[in-house]
Symmetry: C2
Subunit: 323 residues, 2 copies
């Protein structure tokens, strides 16, 4: 949640000059992004009327080989009318450029805000845009495996160790020990696949009122089951942020919004309880790992894995919410 | 250099509704400010054509009693044509509002970037705007003492202690011991006073090419000698960021720019060598104190006091640069 690299105004102006976007007018480092630095850039625009962009510098974690997948996916989805930011290509047509050993990309700025407490109208709109994304991405030619699949949850669990997990909460260690082994054998196969966002928490959705103006942060996007993405989004949207309780109204709105565009098959619907538990396990494990491995002086705010562990239990004990 | 307080989109929208600026379109936390949190805000604007603002939440250090001074000063200077952001008053005319126990203010957004390596043209423009500010502020009715005056340098030196300073560098402890006692008796008296910015480093000046588009961050502004502000600005602008060497060309440009608007009297010019040493001591002491007292996990990047201590030595040994 910080700008990790200092990029002086002179460097920034030189970089912007490699794009056909006019000249630099303003650049503010923004406090977003965990594994990248971001600036909100204003230029005179190609037409002199002003334009805004997000400049992202990829700092950690990202595989440079994956960058063309993420960035050309944005172009593919934007061309099909999805509310995602287009990638601005440089004057040579490149999707990204290198500054030293770090890649940078310029993407469109989209209006809208990320809500902390979604309304049913916003959950419905998010469901609708997720389904439109799944449809629009179906013919995207590139593929990328889900690097955050079951094998990765197992690796993270091993890296944390039961003792490590117990330092977060003893019941978390027990939950992981009892639940994690269930997924590998039972995980659904043969459900429809497409490109999924895989991380569509409310922070990654921009809205104005009940209108979704932007889906952002596609750096976990991959080819996987559409229904798994529904499960991730359900995990992310359908809970009261204040008391942690399940919100049936948001769940109904999200699923109705989704199915208005892309109805779920019986097989997909039947798989949702397990997929949602898996989605919860995926974020429990990545957050628990980060919790145990984030240095005290890091610029990143650690996210608590425990609320998501509670959601896993709820999904396990209440499969009827998807009926 | 971070956003210390989470302000959800819903809270932000409610806050913006208390101003006559249209409705909230976008809000991005920006990575600026050491003792406050800042957001770059976009709204539909009063006229529906869109408008941008900086929202500042005062987190630390600031005395609430001082806020009307800083914020009404912006209005005073903007009304006289200085390139400073206007304070946006709320619908009740208030300069700032409270969110819980923290004050927030909405100020105009100004275009421009802060350069890392100023050119002579930019130093000249900065000098000119500093002089215009000193002239425009002369009839500002409120007053505020300089809280970062000699008594405060002495207090900070005592708080650091010679042993503390020596952990930064042994020669720094020696320099403070030998130089600090000189100021109290020799400090100039009777030079013309006005409102001074007192912190006009290049980060606090927005430029487009050689045009100054914004003077920002007035939270050290106070009533003091105009020539002292010239000295602070000289300390901040006239050195090579790469090798630390004095840059005679920038010095000449800054002073020429200033004197084109407000010529220095003989007394002011004669005082500059000592005022510049004092300006250096002021920032050496505040940076040394912050260096020793910033927790390792702070979101703030500590600034090195040593380059400024070298500048103090240079000013002491080369009074002729102001002749």
């Amino acid at each position: 949640m910080a700008v990790y690299t200092h990029l002086g105004a002179e460097d920034m102006a030189a970089l912007i000059a490699t794009y056909d976007v006019g000249t630099l007018v303003s650049a503010k480092g923004i406090a977003e992004g965990v594994s990248n630095s971001n600036w909100l850039i204003e230029t005179t625009g190609c037409d002199g009327n002003g334009a805004r962009y997000i400049l992202t510098m990829y700092e950690f974690r990202i595989e440079l080989d994956d960058l063309p997948y993420f960035l050309s996916l944005l172009d593919h989805l934007a061309a099909k009318g999805c509310p995602v930011p287009r990638t601005i290509h440089d004057r040579d047509g490149a999707l990204y450029r290198m500054i030293g050993d770090k890649a940078v990309a310029l993407i469109e700025f989209l209006p809208g805000v990320s809500v902390s407490t979604p309304t049913a109208g916003q959950a419905r709109a998010a469901g609708r845009e997720l389904a439109r994304l799944h449809r629009a991405a179906a013919d995207f030619p590139a593929t990328r495996a889900n690097a955050m699949g079951i094998a990765e949850w197992q690796r993270l669990a091993q890296a944390c160790g039961p003792d490590g997990l117990a330092t977060i909460a003893p019941w978390l260690a027990d939950l992981v020990a009892s639940e994690l082994p269930r997924f590998a054998a039972a995980w659904p196969k043969g459900l429809p696949e497409t490109v999924i966002h895989a991380d569509l928490f409310p922070d990654n959705v921009l809205v104005l009122g009940d209108t979704v103006t932007g889906l952002i942060d596609f750096y976990f996007a991959c080819n996987d089951m559409a229904a798994y993405d529904v499960a991730v989004t359900h995990l992310a949207w359908c809970w009261d942020p204040a008391d942690g309780n399940f919100r049936a109204d948001l769940s109904r709105a999200l699923l109705e919004g989704y199915e208005g565009v892309r109805p779920l098959s019986d097989e997909e619907r039947a798989a949702l309880p397990l997929l949602a538990q898996g989605a919860a396990m995926r974020f429990v494990m990545s957050r628990a790992y980060d919790w145990l491995n984030t240095p005290a002086d890091a610029l990143v705010i650690r996210k608590d894995p425990l609320p998501l562990a509670r959601r896993l239990e709820y999904y396990r004990d209440h499969p009827e919410i998807f009926a």
